[in-house]
Symmetry: C2
DNA sequence: GCAATGATTGGTAACGTTACCAACCGAAAG
DNA sequence: CTTTCGGTTGGTAACGTTACCAATCATTGC
């Protein structure tokens, strides 16, 4: 009836023997059955079912020219829902093309990224999608990757001219800051992160542009650009609100900083502490933002779409339908007022 | 200097030729270099660097007994931050054991799950970790999986006796409901989801147990158990609060239902609608729960830890250190009062 | 009835790697 | 000076699959 508990995987040869045909006939049947007699196909399928046979995809992709069907994906922080959605978008498009993803988490560590990339290549991935860390990029140079196409997401890498999907960081930050200025704020604090230099830098540039354009002073003492997690963001917000001349509004460059800032603002309200109740503009959406005790304007974007676009770019490259040079896609962001 | 742009991956044979040794010496060097003269090792490493050679892991694992180094992971919804954290936990432990994860999203579709599992096995995964969908489980029977160990997470599958990691759903729901009863509530609504039968069922049981024990009536007209997403949850909460005799508190069995309920409650408060402002107990944490306009008690748990435990169970099985029978680990939950 | 055609089937080799065995080397021991 | 031994190196085969070619079979047209 069936193999015993814990038996090793049967081979195509065993299936062939049981079905009374050659391995070639089994292979052909499983490949679609062109030019195989229907009765033989039935016998093969019966043997496959009985033995619980699965084609060995690794052996299959050993033959030259055969794709492995794997896409390597390395992201910086899977715990961040933003990247979970990103991975989902990549997975969806990969599945539509009959591929699976191998997923690695770099934790912003360039060494880990390097290690992941070489493992992925060793597993013969058909392509790579990467949210790069900000370290050295020698391991991503085309000559190191051989014929494996690479798509970068969220961030660009200096000196690396490859397909990239980005958000409109500058424009979004600009428009978000303008909305605060329009509401009459002129003293606007900035919370952001440093290490993911690329987005942090771009979002700061948008903020700076808007402030400068409207003649609002940029005061370094209410600019904090070194917070990676919620607790650090909370502390930075606390310091900012304890400033002798505190800001009346805060621009937060990402999800982690927004949550931290709101936690601190909420604490002050709950404890009845005096001081400003700053309006907040948040780059990155979060759930229930409409229920916050201060008005929160959200600069929203679609991480899942970003993942889908990255994968689409990759498959265009794989199928040869991509343009010759490196393409950059910059996805729009939307601003939702409270 | 280096291979040309877009060249195919070099083989071990080419490295051997360049280094002036046999492929065996290259293989041995890369495997750790036991019994290989240091000068030859240096020559090999130089050739590897020059050609940009990566060991072909697929060919490597073709030999019998060699592990592929891959763990197949299928989860139901990667967009849910809960599962993103779960995947991260699995990935961390897998990385500690030198393995990568292949990730697939089932979207609660049993057909997709079946397809993913057979692809994973075809890729010779060393093990499987699954958040099962609630369909038929024939494809998960041991005799179908051959020698590939399986660990289930979050949910159990009827008729499948394998290693499993669960949350203390019943106990958590019980204690959460008791906390509402202790606060004087007796009319408590229930929001939950049906299709992920297992957790939904268990959490309802905990609710039921607490209600019955305290003699609080269980009224089916304020029990809604069919919401999978935030919008459906919102609608269910609206109907519940429009009930002629609305509940004074709501037990929400998961994150999606909690967000939906709070969105509806917030809307009513903002619009100044009359009616109760129900207290909420939420199974699943969410950020900024302390800033909600009604008190929210959170039944919290660690999805990442759940992932780590699942992977730990799997590696115990792989390394033969696991017990003979199927193990079930039930992780505790914590209750955080507002 | 016979040749030509196309459909069907099987054998062989190769993909890139490593386990196993055989061969060789130099050095130490007798 | 020979033997022995451990360290070092290379050749061969096999892992499971499929492309390619050769062989076989039935069918059609003359």
């Amino acid at each position: 009836m069936s193999t015993s508990r814990g038996a090793r995987q049967p081979t195509i040869k065993e299936v062939a023997t049981l079905a009374g045909v050659s391995p070639m006939t089994v292979s052909r049947t499983l490949a679609g059955g062109v030019n195989v007699r229907p009765d033989l196909q039935r016998r093969v399928m019966a043997a496959v079912a009985e033995l619980g046979y699965y084609r060995n995809e690794n052996a299959r992709s050993l033959r030259p020219g055969q794709p492995s069907g794997l896409i390597g994906v390395a992201i910086t922080n899977l715990a961040n829902p933003y990247y979970g959605n990103f991975a989902l978008g990549v997975e969806e498009v990969a599945a539509e093309h009959g591929r699976r993803i191998i997923l690695g988490n770099t934790g912003e560590d360039p060494g880990r990224e390097r290690q992941l990339v070489s493992d992925f290549i060793g597993r013969q991935v058909d392509g790579l999608i990467l949210v790069p860390t900000s370290g050295d990029a020698a391991h991503l140079q085309q000559e190191r990757l051989g014929d494996v196409p690479l798509v970068l997401a969220s961030r660009r890498v200096p000196g690396l001219d490859v397909d990239t999907v980005l958000l409109d960081d500058v424009g979004g930050a600009y428009r978000g800051t303008v909305s605060l200025l329009d509401a009459g704020h002129t003293r606007i604090g900035f919370l952001g992160n440093r290490s993911s230099v690329f987005t942090g830098e771009r979002r700061f540039r948008g903020y700076e542009q808007a402030m400068t354009e409207r003649g609002a002073p940029i005061d370094p003492s209410i600019i904090a650009r070194d917070q990676q997690d919620v607790d650090a963001a909370s502390r930075a917000a606390r310091a900012m609100l304890d400033h002798p001349e505190p800001p009346t509004a805060i621009f937060s460059a990402n999800n982690r900083n927004t949550i931290g800032a709101l936690r601190e603002i909420g604490r002050r309200i709950r404890d009845g502490l005096p001081g400003p109740r700053p309006a907040v503009v948040s780059f990155d959406d979060f759930e229930l933002s409409e229920l916050m005790p201060v008005p929160v304007t959200v600069i929203d974007h679609d991480a899942r779409l970003l993942g889908r676009e990255a994968a689409t770019l990759l498959f265009a490259r794989l199928e040869g339908t991509a343009e010759a040079g490196a393409t950059t896609v910059e996805l729009p962001v939307t601003i939702a007022h409270p």
